[in-house]
């Protein structure tokens, strides 16, 4: 129920920010469609802690700025590699063990790896990631396990939730 209410709030915010209407008729039509969407989502049984990883939100506030900064640094590195005439790349595939326990945590980690230029997750089998890295530096940065630890820290208490 909590998740359904929050989905309703999130959809209302999205609807209003995208439309910007304030006339009562249009607003009530919007409210009607949101209720319909929440009801359909509830019927489809897709409203749970997994589709709304709320428990990650507080620590995500710390994680995402860090991730953005990492992305900026990696972008500059890879852009430098690409524009060099010799293009000093060392494509390599590495195995990584992900320390996350929930699916949402694993997805966050895998997507963070892919989002950082220079490394792409090309395979996921349970906790084992197959990662393609473009340069030695990118591979070494990932092998240090810093990102893994930070995503695990953000995941935090996720093993205990499950109500909804």
């Amino acid at each position: 129920m909590l998740h359904a209410t929050l989905l309703g709030f999130a959809l209302s915010a999205l609807w209003w920010l995208l439309s910007g209407f304030t006339t009562p008729l249009i607003l009530s039509l919007g409210a009607g469609s949101i209720v319909a969407v929440v009801w359909i989502a509830w019927r489809m049984d897709v409203i749970d802690h997994e589709s709304h990883p709320l428990h990650m939100a507080p620590k995500g506030v710390l994680y995402f700025p860090w991730l953005l900064w990492e992305i900026v640094k990696a972008n500059i590195d890879i852009a430098k590699v690409i524009v060099q005439a010799k293009m000093p790349i060392h494509p390599q595939v590495m195995d990584l063990t992900a320390g996350q326990k929930s699916d949402a945590g694993l997805v966050t980690y895998a997507n963070s790896i892919t989002l950082t230029p220079g490394t792409v997750t090309i395979g996921v089998e349970a906790n084992a990631f197959l990662v393609h890295a473009l340069t030695d530096d990118a591979a070494a940065g990932l092998a240090s396990g810093d990102m893994d630890r930070r995503v695990s820290a953000m995941e935090g208490m996720s093993s205990r939730d499950g109500d909804g």
Partner: protein, 112 residues
């Protein structure tokens, strides 16, 4: 003040455009499908991010800013998923990554 904002916003947009071009160059220059994905990664993080930052500085504090922020957030969530789907499809289709061949032309893929 308006001038400073303009300068900042244009700097951001030009930087974003430059990263888009570098990403596109990377897509052409890099040797195989997995390496080319890294070029795409530049476009859909730094390229899009800086362009949206520049546009946000242009638009000021209003509803359009919220829409720009949403575009950025949705792209940051969906683009790695799409890249991963592409990588899986390539592996499923039997493409093996070329490993540790620093930019040589004697690849076995013809007509590049």
């Amino acid at each position: 003040m308006a001038l400073a904002l303009d300068i900042l916003s244009w700097a951001a947009i030009i930087t974003g455009g430059a990263f888009c071009i570098i990403g596109a160059v990377g897509m052409i220059r890099l040797p195989d499908v997995f390496c080319r994905m890294h070029g795409v990664g530049i476009i859909d993080t730094m390229g899009i991010g800086m362009i949206i930052l520049g546009l946000a500085l242009q638009t000021g504090f209003n509803l359009t800013l919220a829409k720009l922020a949403m575009i950025l957030i949705f792209v940051l969530f969906t683009s790695p998923t799409a890249t991963h789907a592409l990588a899986r499809a390539a592996r499923y289709g039997g493409v093996e990554p070329q490993l540790d061949k620093p930019a040589k032309k004697e690849t076995d893929q013809s007509n590049t």
